[in-house]
Protein backbone atom coordinates (compact mmCIF):
# COMPACT_ATOMS: atom_id res chain seq x y z
CA UNK A 1 0.00 0.00 0.00
CA UNK A 2 2.74 2.42 0.90
CA UNK A 3 4.51 2.07 -2.43
CA UNK A 4 1.59 3.76 -4.25
CA UNK A 5 -0.08 7.13 -4.00
CA UNK A 6 -3.79 6.74 -3.20
CA UNK A 7 -5.51 5.17 -6.23
CA UNK A 8 -2.22 4.77 -8.12
CA UNK A 9 -2.15 8.17 -9.90
CA UNK A 10 -0.28 11.13 -8.46
CA UNK A 11 -2.30 14.04 -7.12
CA UNK A 12 -1.44 16.42 -9.98
CA UNK A 13 -2.67 13.92 -12.54
CA UNK A 14 -5.88 13.31 -10.63
CA UNK A 15 -6.42 17.05 -10.39
CA UNK A 16 -5.97 17.34 -14.15
CA UNK A 17 -8.45 14.54 -14.75
CA UNK A 18 -10.95 16.05 -12.29
CA UNK A 19 -10.78 19.32 -14.18
CA UNK A 20 -11.57 17.44 -17.37
CA UNK A 21 -14.46 15.67 -15.62
CA UNK A 22 -15.87 18.96 -14.31
CA UNK A 23 -15.64 20.49 -17.73
CA UNK A 24 -17.37 17.43 -19.18
CA UNK A 25 -20.16 17.73 -16.64
CA UNK A 26 -20.54 21.41 -17.44
CA UNK A 27 -20.88 20.65 -21.17
CA UNK A 28 -22.80 17.36 -21.29
CA UNK A 29 -21.75 15.15 -24.18
CA UNK A 30 -18.72 17.25 -25.14
CA UNK A 31 -15.46 15.32 -25.49
CA UNK A 32 -12.85 16.95 -23.25
CA UNK A 33 -9.23 16.17 -24.18
CA UNK A 34 -7.03 15.11 -21.27
CA UNK A 35 -3.44 13.97 -20.87
CA UNK A 36 -4.04 10.26 -20.55
CA UNK A 37 -1.33 8.47 -18.55
CA UNK A 38 0.35 5.16 -19.08
CA UNK A 39 -1.44 2.67 -16.86
CA UNK A 40 -0.15 -0.74 -15.78
CA UNK A 41 -2.47 -2.49 -18.21
CA UNK A 42 -2.81 -2.53 -21.99
CA UNK A 43 -4.96 -0.09 -23.93
CA UNK A 44 -8.33 -1.68 -24.54
CA UNK A 45 -8.50 -3.01 -21.00
CA UNK A 46 -10.13 0.07 -19.63
CA UNK A 47 -7.27 2.51 -19.09
CA UNK A 48 -9.61 5.46 -19.60
CA UNK A 49 -12.16 4.15 -17.13
CA UNK A 50 -9.45 3.32 -14.60
CA UNK A 51 -8.02 6.85 -14.72
CA UNK A 52 -11.47 8.37 -14.25
CA UNK A 53 -12.18 5.96 -11.35
CA UNK A 54 -8.81 6.81 -9.80
CA UNK A 55 -9.64 10.51 -9.99
CA UNK A 56 -13.07 10.22 -8.35
CA UNK A 57 -12.42 7.52 -5.72
CA UNK A 58 -12.15 8.59 -2.07
CA UNK A 59 -11.12 6.33 0.81
CA UNK A 60 -14.73 5.99 1.95
CA UNK A 61 -16.03 4.79 -1.42
CA UNK A 62 -17.31 1.32 -2.22
CA UNK A 63 -16.16 0.17 -5.63
CA UNK A 64 -17.77 -2.24 -8.09
CA UNK A 65 -16.52 -3.29 -11.51
CA UNK A 66 -18.53 -5.03 -14.18
CA UNK A 67 -17.52 -6.32 -17.57
CA UNK A 68 -20.44 -7.09 -19.87
CA UNK A 69 -22.57 -7.00 -16.74
CA UNK A 70 -20.53 -9.57 -14.87
CA UNK A 71 -18.48 -9.01 -11.71
CA UNK A 72 -16.45 -12.17 -12.15
CA UNK A 73 -14.73 -11.83 -15.53
CA UNK A 74 -10.96 -11.43 -15.76
CA UNK A 75 -11.15 -7.76 -16.64
CA UNK A 76 -13.56 -6.93 -13.83
CA UNK A 77 -11.63 -8.93 -11.26
CA UNK A 78 -8.28 -7.42 -12.15
CA UNK A 79 -9.50 -3.82 -12.09
CA UNK A 80 -11.30 -4.43 -8.78
CA UNK A 81 -8.12 -5.95 -7.35
CA UNK A 82 -6.08 -3.05 -8.74
CA UNK A 83 -8.02 -0.50 -6.70
CA UNK A 84 -8.19 -2.78 -3.65
CA UNK A 85 -4.38 -2.76 -3.70
CA UNK A 86 -3.72 0.84 -4.72
CA UNK A 87 -6.57 2.66 -2.94
CA UNK A 88 -7.59 0.20 -0.29
CA UNK A 89 -11.25 0.97 -0.92
CA UNK A 90 -14.04 -1.40 -0.07
CA UNK A 91 -15.35 -3.41 -2.99
CA UNK A 92 -18.68 -4.99 -3.64
CA UNK A 93 -20.64 -6.80 -6.32
CA UNK A 94 -23.97 -5.40 -5.13
CA UNK A 95 -25.05 -2.58 -7.40
CA UNK A 96 -27.02 -0.78 -4.70
CA UNK A 97 -24.11 -0.81 -2.24
CA UNK A 98 -21.53 0.64 -4.63
CA UNK A 99 -20.74 4.35 -4.75
CA UNK A 100 -18.48 4.12 -7.81
CA UNK A 101 -19.17 1.52 -10.52
CA UNK A 102 -16.76 1.07 -13.39
CA UNK A 103 -18.35 -0.67 -16.33
CA UNK A 104 -17.47 -2.10 -19.67
CA UNK A 105 -20.36 -2.49 -22.14
CA UNK A 106 -23.38 -2.47 -19.76
CA UNK A 107 -25.50 -0.34 -17.47
CA UNK A 108 -26.72 -2.26 -14.41
CA UNK A 109 -30.36 -3.36 -14.52
CA UNK A 110 -31.11 -1.98 -11.08
CA UNK A 111 -31.78 1.76 -11.36
CA UNK A 112 -28.90 3.76 -9.92
CA UNK A 113 -29.54 6.37 -7.26
CA UNK A 114 -28.25 9.81 -6.44
CA UNK A 115 -24.75 9.83 -5.04
CA UNK A 116 -23.53 7.02 -7.28
CA UNK A 117 -21.04 7.46 -10.11
CA UNK A 118 -21.05 5.19 -13.17
CA UNK A 119 -17.70 5.15 -15.02
CA UNK A 120 -17.71 3.81 -18.57
CA UNK A 121 -14.71 2.40 -20.41
CA UNK A 122 -14.73 3.85 -23.91
CA UNK A 123 -12.70 2.46 -26.82
CA UNK A 124 -13.61 5.08 -29.47
CA UNK A 125 -15.26 8.22 -28.16
CA UNK A 126 -15.94 9.79 -31.55
CA UNK A 127 -19.33 8.70 -32.93
CA UNK A 128 -18.56 10.23 -36.33
CA UNK A 129 -15.19 8.52 -36.68
CA UNK A 130 -16.15 5.74 -39.05
CA UNK A 131 -17.80 8.14 -41.47
CA UNK A 132 -15.33 10.99 -41.23
CA UNK A 133 -11.81 9.89 -40.31
CA UNK A 134 -10.39 13.42 -39.96
CA UNK A 135 -10.41 14.51 -36.31
CA UNK A 136 -10.10 18.16 -37.39
CA UNK A 137 -13.29 17.76 -39.38
CA UNK A 138 -15.29 15.85 -36.73
CA UNK A 139 -14.43 18.46 -34.11
CA UNK A 140 -15.69 21.13 -36.46
CA UNK A 141 -18.85 19.13 -37.07
CA UNK A 142 -19.45 18.92 -33.32
CA UNK A 143 -18.79 22.59 -32.77
CA UNK A 144 -21.10 23.59 -35.60
CA UNK A 145 -23.70 20.92 -34.80
CA UNK A 146 -23.41 19.40 -38.26
CA UNK A 147 -24.78 15.98 -37.56
CA UNK A 148 -26.34 14.98 -40.87
CA UNK A 149 -23.62 12.38 -41.26
CA UNK A 150 -24.79 10.49 -38.17
CA UNK A 151 -28.09 9.84 -39.84
CA UNK A 152 -26.30 8.73 -43.00
CA UNK A 153 -24.91 5.86 -40.92
CA UNK A 154 -28.40 4.88 -39.75
CA UNK A 155 -29.69 5.27 -43.32
CA UNK A 156 -27.01 2.88 -44.54
CA UNK A 157 -28.08 0.43 -41.84
CA UNK A 158 -31.64 0.44 -43.08
CA UNK A 159 -30.77 -0.07 -46.74
CA UNK A 160 -28.58 -3.05 -45.86
CA UNK A 161 -30.65 -4.67 -43.16
CA UNK A 162 -34.16 -3.30 -43.55
CA UNK A 163 -33.95 -1.75 -40.09
CA UNK A 164 -31.44 0.14 -37.98
CA UNK A 165 -29.08 -2.71 -37.27
CA UNK A 166 -26.73 -0.78 -34.99
CA UNK A 167 -27.22 -2.76 -31.80
CA UNK A 168 -24.52 -1.35 -29.56
CA UNK A 169 -22.70 1.98 -29.26
CA UNK A 170 -25.93 3.42 -30.59
CA UNK A 171 -25.47 7.19 -31.02
CA UNK A 172 -27.41 9.59 -28.82
CA UNK A 173 -28.00 13.32 -28.71
CA UNK A 174 -27.39 14.96 -25.36
CA UNK A 175 -29.55 17.88 -24.21
CA UNK A 176 -30.38 18.61 -27.84
CA UNK A 177 -26.76 19.55 -28.51
CA UNK A 178 -23.88 17.09 -28.73
CA UNK A 179 -24.06 13.75 -30.46
CA UNK A 180 -22.33 11.23 -28.23
CA UNK A 181 -21.13 7.65 -28.38
CA UNK A 182 -22.50 5.96 -25.24
CA UNK A 183 -19.60 3.41 -25.38
CA UNK A 184 -20.39 -0.08 -26.65
CA UNK A 185 -23.38 -0.68 -24.39
CA UNK A 186 -26.24 -2.60 -26.05
CA UNK A 187 -28.91 -0.28 -27.36
CA UNK A 188 -31.19 -1.97 -24.82
CA UNK A 189 -29.40 0.15 -22.23
CA UNK A 190 -29.79 3.44 -24.11
CA UNK A 191 -33.03 4.49 -22.38
CA UNK A 192 -31.27 4.15 -19.00
CA UNK A 193 -28.84 6.93 -19.99
CA UNK A 194 -31.66 9.40 -19.86
CA UNK A 195 -32.68 11.05 -16.60
CA UNK A 196 -30.31 8.84 -14.61
CA UNK A 197 -29.96 9.86 -10.96
CA UNK A 198 -26.28 8.92 -10.89
CA UNK A 199 -23.40 10.82 -12.49
CA UNK A 200 -22.16 9.15 -15.69
CA UNK A 201 -18.52 9.59 -16.68
CA UNK A 202 -16.89 8.26 -19.85
CA UNK A 203 -13.16 7.72 -20.15
CA UNK A 204 -11.22 6.87 -23.32
CA UNK A 205 -7.58 6.26 -22.41
CA UNK A 206 -6.01 5.61 -25.78
CA UNK A 207 -7.99 8.45 -27.41
CA UNK A 208 -7.41 10.79 -24.46
CA UNK A 209 -10.96 11.97 -24.10
CA UNK A 210 -13.34 12.30 -21.17
CA UNK A 211 -17.03 13.14 -21.43
CA UNK A 212 -19.87 13.13 -18.98
CA UNK A 213 -23.58 13.21 -18.31
CA UNK A 214 -24.65 14.99 -15.11
CA UNK A 215 -27.65 13.53 -13.22
CA UNK A 216 -31.03 13.83 -14.91
CA UNK A 217 -29.72 14.68 -18.36
CA UNK A 218 -31.89 14.45 -21.45
CA UNK A 219 -30.44 11.80 -23.77
CA UNK A 220 -32.21 10.85 -26.99
CA UNK A 221 -31.28 7.96 -29.27
CA UNK A 222 -31.07 9.07 -32.90
CA UNK A 223 -33.59 7.56 -35.32
CA UNK A 224 -35.91 8.21 -38.24
CA UNK A 225 -39.59 9.09 -37.94
CA UNK A 226 -40.51 5.95 -39.87
CA UNK A 227 -37.81 3.82 -38.25
CA UNK A 228 -38.04 4.78 -34.57
CA UNK A 229 -35.46 3.70 -32.03
CA UNK A 230 -36.23 0.39 -30.29
CA UNK A 231 -34.43 -0.92 -27.24
CA UNK A 232 -34.32 -4.56 -28.21
CA UNK A 233 -33.20 -7.69 -26.39
CA UNK A 234 -33.45 -11.44 -26.87
CA UNK A 235 -37.11 -12.41 -26.61
CA UNK A 236 -36.76 -14.87 -23.71
CA UNK A 237 -37.01 -14.88 -19.94
CA UNK A 238 -33.78 -15.43 -17.99
CA UNK A 239 -33.13 -19.15 -17.61
CA UNK A 240 -31.85 -18.71 -14.05
CA UNK A 241 -34.06 -16.06 -12.45
CA UNK A 242 -36.96 -15.88 -14.89
CA UNK A 243 -36.62 -12.10 -15.36
CA UNK A 244 -38.30 -10.82 -18.53
CA UNK A 245 -37.04 -7.24 -18.30
CA UNK A 246 -33.28 -7.74 -18.28
CA UNK A 247 -30.65 -7.90 -21.00
CA UNK A 248 -29.69 -11.50 -21.73
CA UNK A 249 -26.56 -13.36 -22.76
CA UNK A 250 -26.98 -16.43 -24.90
CA UNK A 251 -24.97 -19.40 -23.61
CA UNK A 252 -24.22 -22.55 -25.59
CA UNK A 253 -24.39 -25.34 -23.05
CA UNK A 254 -23.58 -28.53 -24.98
CA UNK A 255 -22.46 -29.82 -28.36
CA UNK A 256 -25.92 -30.56 -29.71
CA UNK A 257 -27.24 -27.04 -30.06
CA UNK A 258 -28.51 -26.64 -26.52
CA UNK A 259 -28.52 -23.07 -25.30
CA UNK A 260 -29.87 -20.92 -22.55
CA UNK A 261 -30.45 -17.25 -21.97
CA UNK A 262 -29.31 -15.70 -18.73
CA UNK A 263 -29.13 -12.16 -17.35
CA UNK A 264 -25.91 -10.46 -18.38
CA UNK A 265 -26.08 -8.50 -15.10
CA UNK A 266 -24.89 -11.17 -12.65
CA UNK A 267 -25.71 -9.17 -9.53
CA UNK A 268 -29.27 -8.53 -10.69
CA UNK A 269 -29.74 -12.24 -11.43
CA UNK A 270 -28.32 -13.39 -8.11
CA UNK A 271 -30.41 -10.94 -6.09
CA UNK A 272 -33.54 -12.20 -7.86
CA UNK A 273 -32.62 -15.84 -7.33
CA UNK A 274 -31.95 -15.16 -3.65
CA UNK A 275 -35.43 -13.66 -3.43
CA UNK A 276 -36.85 -16.94 -4.71
CA UNK A 277 -37.31 -16.22 -8.44
CA UNK A 278 -36.57 -19.27 -10.54
CA UNK A 279 -36.12 -19.70 -14.30
CA UNK A 280 -36.74 -22.85 -16.29
CA UNK A 281 -33.03 -23.77 -16.44
CA UNK A 282 -32.30 -23.17 -12.76
CA UNK A 283 -30.91 -26.19 -10.96
Amino acid sequence: MTEYNFAYLDEQTKRMIRRAILKGLAIPGYQVPFASREMPMPYGWGTGGVQVSAAVLTPSDTFKVIDQGADDTTNAVSIRTFFQRTAGVATTTATSDATVIQTRHRIPEEPLHEGQILVYQVPIPEPLRFLEPRESETRKMHSLEEYGLMHVKLYEDIIRHGHIATSYAYPVKVEGRYVMDPSPIPKFDNPKLRDMAAIQLFGAGREQRIYALPPYTQVVSLDFEDHPFEASKADHPCGMCGATDSYLDELIIDDIGGRMFVCSDTDYCEVRQAAGHKGKDAA
Binding site: L131, L144, E145, E146, Y147, G148, L149, H151, V152, Y155, E156, I158, I159, R160, D223, F224, E225, D226, H227
Partner: protein, 256 residues
Amino acid sequence: MTPLLSVQGITKRYGPHIGCADVSFDLYPGEVMGIVGESGSGKSTLLNCMAGHLTPDAGQVVFDTRTDGPRDTITMSEPERRMLGRTDWAFVHQHARDGLRMGVSAGGNVGERLMAVGERHYGDIRDKATDWLGRVEIDASRVDDRPTTFSGGMQQRLQIARNLVTGPRLVFMDEPTGGLDVSVQARLLDLLRGLVRDMGLSAIIVTHDLAVVRLLADRLMVMKLGRVVEAGLTDQVLDDPQHAYSQLLVSSVLQV
Protein backbone atom coordinates in the same frame (compact mmCIF):
# COMPACT_ATOMS: atom_id res chain seq x y z
CA MET B 1 -32.07 43.58 -59.70
CA THR B 2 -29.71 42.47 -56.93
CA PRO B 3 -26.79 40.31 -58.03
CA LEU B 4 -26.87 36.83 -56.53
CA LEU B 5 -23.13 37.04 -56.02
CA SER B 6 -21.03 40.16 -56.04
CA VAL B 7 -17.30 39.60 -55.97
CA GLN B 8 -15.18 42.65 -55.22
CA GLY B 9 -11.41 42.93 -55.31
CA ILE B 10 -10.62 39.33 -54.42
CA THR B 11 -6.89 38.94 -53.91
CA LYS B 12 -5.04 35.87 -52.67
CA ARG B 13 -1.28 35.61 -52.35
CA TYR B 14 0.85 32.61 -51.67
CA GLY B 15 3.83 34.26 -50.10
CA PRO B 16 5.37 36.44 -52.81
CA HIS B 17 3.32 34.70 -55.50
CA ILE B 18 -0.03 35.93 -56.64
CA GLY B 19 -2.86 33.38 -56.60
CA CYS B 20 -5.37 35.82 -57.94
CA ALA B 21 -5.41 39.59 -57.85
CA ASP B 22 -8.18 42.14 -57.64
CA VAL B 23 -10.94 40.10 -59.26
CA SER B 24 -14.38 41.71 -59.32
CA PHE B 25 -17.64 40.79 -61.03
CA ASP B 26 -21.37 40.44 -60.42
CA LEU B 27 -23.30 37.26 -61.10
CA TYR B 28 -27.05 37.54 -61.52
CA PRO B 29 -29.67 34.86 -60.84
CA GLY B 30 -29.79 32.29 -63.62
CA GLU B 31 -26.42 33.30 -65.07
CA VAL B 32 -23.70 30.81 -65.83
CA MET B 33 -20.20 32.19 -65.87
CA GLY B 34 -17.14 30.39 -67.14
CA ILE B 35 -13.62 31.08 -65.94
CA VAL B 36 -10.91 29.93 -68.33
CA GLY B 37 -7.17 30.13 -68.30
CA GLU B 38 -4.22 27.79 -68.35
CA SER B 39 -2.92 25.88 -65.33
CA GLY B 40 -1.61 28.31 -62.75
CA SER B 41 -3.73 31.20 -63.99
CA GLY B 42 -5.42 31.44 -60.61
CA LYS B 43 -8.85 30.26 -61.66
CA SER B 44 -9.04 27.50 -59.07
CA THR B 45 -7.69 29.78 -56.35
CA LEU B 46 -10.41 32.27 -57.21
CA LEU B 47 -13.08 29.57 -57.15
CA ASN B 48 -11.93 28.32 -53.77
CA CYS B 49 -11.88 31.85 -52.37
CA MET B 50 -15.44 32.40 -53.53
CA ALA B 51 -16.68 29.06 -52.21
CA GLY B 52 -15.15 29.64 -48.78
CA HIS B 53 -12.49 26.95 -49.07
CA LEU B 54 -9.73 29.55 -48.98
CA THR B 55 -9.65 32.87 -47.18
CA PRO B 56 -8.65 35.69 -49.53
CA ASP B 57 -6.19 38.32 -48.36
CA ALA B 58 -8.49 41.08 -49.56
CA GLY B 59 -11.89 41.53 -51.08
CA GLN B 60 -15.51 40.68 -50.55
CA VAL B 61 -17.76 37.87 -51.73
CA VAL B 62 -21.28 39.19 -51.19
CA PHE B 63 -24.04 36.64 -51.55
CA ASP B 64 -27.73 37.52 -51.63
CA THR B 65 -28.95 35.26 -48.82
CA ARG B 66 -32.56 34.12 -48.65
CA THR B 67 -33.19 35.50 -45.21
CA ASP B 68 -30.94 38.51 -44.71
CA GLY B 69 -30.25 39.78 -48.22
CA PRO B 70 -26.69 40.55 -49.36
CA ARG B 71 -24.03 39.38 -46.89
CA ASP B 72 -20.25 39.22 -47.18
CA THR B 73 -19.49 35.52 -46.90
CA ILE B 74 -15.83 36.17 -46.11
CA THR B 75 -16.65 37.93 -42.86
CA MET B 76 -19.74 35.96 -41.88
CA SER B 77 -19.30 33.35 -39.15
CA GLU B 78 -18.08 29.91 -40.12
CA PRO B 79 -21.33 28.15 -39.10
CA GLU B 80 -23.27 30.51 -41.36
CA ARG B 81 -20.89 29.96 -44.24
CA ARG B 82 -20.96 26.20 -43.82
CA MET B 83 -24.74 26.32 -43.66
CA LEU B 84 -24.70 28.11 -47.01
CA GLY B 85 -22.37 25.39 -48.23
CA ARG B 86 -24.97 22.73 -47.68
CA THR B 87 -28.12 24.66 -48.59
CA ASP B 88 -27.85 27.49 -51.13
CA TRP B 89 -24.39 26.63 -52.45
CA ALA B 90 -23.11 23.54 -54.13
CA PHE B 91 -19.60 22.59 -55.12
CA VAL B 92 -18.87 20.07 -57.85
CA HIS B 93 -15.31 18.81 -57.66
CA GLN B 94 -13.29 17.74 -60.66
CA HIS B 95 -12.69 14.36 -59.09
CA ALA B 96 -15.94 12.81 -57.97
CA ARG B 97 -14.08 11.01 -55.19
CA ASP B 98 -13.42 14.38 -53.55
CA GLY B 99 -17.09 15.22 -53.51
CA LEU B 100 -18.57 11.83 -52.65
CA ARG B 101 -18.43 9.50 -49.68
CA MET B 102 -17.10 6.42 -51.37
CA GLY B 103 -18.07 4.11 -48.52
CA VAL B 104 -21.68 5.24 -48.48
CA SER B 105 -24.40 4.09 -50.91
CA ALA B 106 -25.54 6.30 -53.79
CA GLY B 107 -28.79 6.99 -51.96
CA GLY B 108 -26.95 7.87 -48.76
CA ASN B 109 -24.68 10.22 -50.68
CA VAL B 110 -27.65 12.07 -52.12
CA GLY B 111 -29.58 11.93 -48.85
CA GLU B 112 -26.78 13.36 -46.72
CA ARG B 113 -27.57 16.99 -47.48
CA LEU B 114 -31.23 16.36 -46.74
CA MET B 115 -30.37 14.80 -43.39
CA ALA B 116 -27.94 17.63 -42.74
CA VAL B 117 -30.77 20.14 -42.98
CA GLY B 118 -32.94 18.10 -40.65
CA GLU B 119 -34.95 15.63 -42.70
CA ARG B 120 -35.72 12.65 -40.50
CA HIS B 121 -38.08 10.49 -42.53
CA TYR B 122 -36.22 7.57 -44.06
CA GLY B 123 -38.86 6.85 -46.71
CA ASP B 124 -39.00 10.46 -47.88
CA ILE B 125 -35.22 10.79 -48.00
CA ARG B 126 -34.92 7.60 -50.00
CA ASP B 127 -37.68 8.65 -52.41
CA LYS B 128 -36.00 11.98 -53.02
CA ALA B 129 -32.63 10.30 -53.50
CA THR B 130 -34.11 7.86 -56.00
CA ASP B 131 -35.84 10.68 -57.84
CA TRP B 132 -32.56 12.55 -58.12
CA LEU B 133 -30.71 9.52 -59.39
CA GLY B 134 -33.30 9.41 -62.16
CA ARG B 135 -32.73 13.08 -62.93
CA VAL B 136 -29.03 12.47 -63.42
CA GLU B 137 -29.78 9.34 -65.45
CA ILE B 138 -28.65 6.75 -62.94
CA ASP B 139 -30.92 3.72 -62.78
CA ALA B 140 -33.00 3.56 -59.61
CA SER B 141 -31.82 -0.02 -59.05
CA ARG B 142 -28.36 1.37 -58.20
CA VAL B 143 -29.61 3.41 -55.23
CA ASP B 144 -28.06 1.06 -52.67
CA ASP B 145 -24.78 0.52 -54.50
CA ARG B 146 -21.62 2.29 -53.45
CA PRO B 147 -20.06 4.78 -55.86
CA THR B 148 -16.96 2.58 -56.00
CA THR B 149 -18.98 0.33 -58.32
CA PHE B 150 -19.85 3.25 -60.63
CA SER B 151 -18.07 4.43 -63.78
CA GLY B 152 -16.36 7.82 -63.77
CA GLY B 153 -19.24 9.47 -65.58
CA MET B 154 -21.79 7.99 -63.19
CA GLN B 155 -19.76 9.11 -60.20
CA GLN B 156 -19.71 12.63 -61.55
CA ARG B 157 -23.47 12.57 -62.12
CA LEU B 158 -23.96 11.21 -58.61
CA GLN B 159 -21.88 14.07 -57.27
CA ILE B 160 -24.11 16.51 -59.10
CA ALA B 161 -27.27 14.88 -57.71
CA ARG B 162 -25.81 14.99 -54.21
CA ASN B 163 -25.15 18.69 -54.64
CA LEU B 164 -28.44 19.71 -56.19
CA VAL B 165 -30.86 17.76 -53.98
CA THR B 166 -31.34 20.65 -51.58
CA GLY B 167 -32.15 23.04 -54.43
CA PRO B 168 -29.12 25.33 -54.21
CA ARG B 169 -29.10 28.65 -56.02
CA LEU B 170 -25.40 28.83 -56.81
CA VAL B 171 -23.19 26.00 -58.02
CA PHE B 172 -19.41 26.19 -58.12
CA MET B 173 -17.88 23.73 -60.56
CA ASP B 174 -14.20 22.93 -60.81
CA GLU B 175 -13.46 21.26 -64.15
CA PRO B 176 -16.71 19.26 -63.97
CA THR B 177 -15.97 17.33 -67.17
CA GLY B 178 -12.23 16.97 -66.67
CA GLY B 179 -10.95 13.43 -66.76
CA LEU B 180 -14.05 12.04 -68.46
CA ASP B 181 -14.28 10.42 -71.87
CA VAL B 182 -15.43 12.76 -74.59
CA SER B 183 -18.69 10.85 -75.10
CA VAL B 184 -19.39 10.98 -71.36
CA GLN B 185 -18.57 14.69 -71.29
CA ALA B 186 -21.24 15.46 -73.86
CA ARG B 187 -23.87 13.63 -71.87
CA LEU B 188 -22.85 15.44 -68.70
CA LEU B 189 -22.88 18.82 -70.41
CA ASP B 190 -26.37 18.23 -71.74
CA LEU B 191 -27.51 17.16 -68.28
CA LEU B 192 -25.98 20.24 -66.66
CA ARG B 193 -27.56 22.52 -69.23
CA GLY B 194 -30.98 21.05 -68.58
CA LEU B 195 -30.60 21.31 -64.80
CA VAL B 196 -29.34 24.88 -64.97
CA ARG B 197 -32.31 25.85 -67.13
CA ASP B 198 -34.98 23.95 -65.24
CA MET B 199 -33.81 24.92 -61.76
CA GLY B 200 -32.86 28.47 -62.68
CA LEU B 201 -29.39 27.86 -61.22
CA SER B 202 -26.54 30.29 -61.28
CA ALA B 203 -23.20 28.66 -61.79
CA ILE B 204 -19.52 29.46 -61.92
CA ILE B 205 -17.55 26.95 -63.95
CA VAL B 206 -13.80 26.80 -63.89
CA THR B 207 -12.33 24.92 -66.80
CA HIS B 208 -9.61 25.02 -69.38
CA ASP B 209 -11.90 23.45 -71.96
CA LEU B 210 -13.25 26.19 -74.20
CA ALA B 211 -15.85 23.85 -75.71
CA VAL B 212 -17.35 23.33 -72.26
CA VAL B 213 -17.77 27.05 -71.62
CA ARG B 214 -19.19 27.65 -75.08
CA LEU B 215 -21.93 25.15 -74.40
CA LEU B 216 -22.63 25.96 -70.76
CA ALA B 217 -21.61 29.51 -69.95
CA ASP B 218 -23.40 32.76 -70.75
CA ARG B 219 -20.39 34.80 -69.77
CA LEU B 220 -16.71 34.23 -69.75
CA MET B 221 -13.72 35.51 -67.81
CA VAL B 222 -10.24 34.85 -69.15
CA MET B 223 -7.52 34.74 -66.50
CA LYS B 224 -3.80 34.94 -66.80
CA LEU B 225 -1.24 35.07 -63.99
CA GLY B 226 -3.95 35.66 -61.40
CA ARG B 227 -5.61 38.54 -63.21
CA VAL B 228 -8.69 38.82 -65.36
CA VAL B 229 -7.52 39.91 -68.80
CA GLU B 230 -10.86 39.83 -70.57
CA ALA B 231 -14.49 39.29 -69.70
CA GLY B 232 -17.72 39.35 -71.64
CA LEU B 233 -20.35 37.37 -73.43
CA THR B 234 -19.02 33.85 -73.97
CA ASP B 235 -19.40 33.66 -77.73
CA GLN B 236 -18.09 37.19 -78.14
CA VAL B 237 -14.92 36.45 -76.15
CA LEU B 238 -14.38 33.20 -78.02
CA ASP B 239 -15.20 34.48 -81.51
CA ASP B 240 -13.81 37.99 -81.24
CA PRO B 241 -11.22 37.96 -78.42
CA GLN B 242 -9.71 41.38 -77.74
CA HIS B 243 -6.79 40.67 -75.47
CA ALA B 244 -3.56 39.19 -76.82
CA TYR B 245 -3.73 36.29 -74.38
CA SER B 246 -7.36 35.48 -75.19
CA GLN B 247 -6.52 35.49 -78.88
CA LEU B 248 -3.67 33.10 -78.24
CA LEU B 249 -5.86 30.86 -76.09
CA VAL B 250 -8.63 30.68 -78.66
CA SER B 251 -6.30 30.18 -81.59
CA SER B 252 -4.45 27.42 -79.75
CA VAL B 253 -7.47 25.11 -79.64
CA LEU B 254 -7.18 22.24 -82.05
CA GLN B 255 -10.02 22.20 -84.52
CA VAL B 256 -11.81 18.91 -84.94
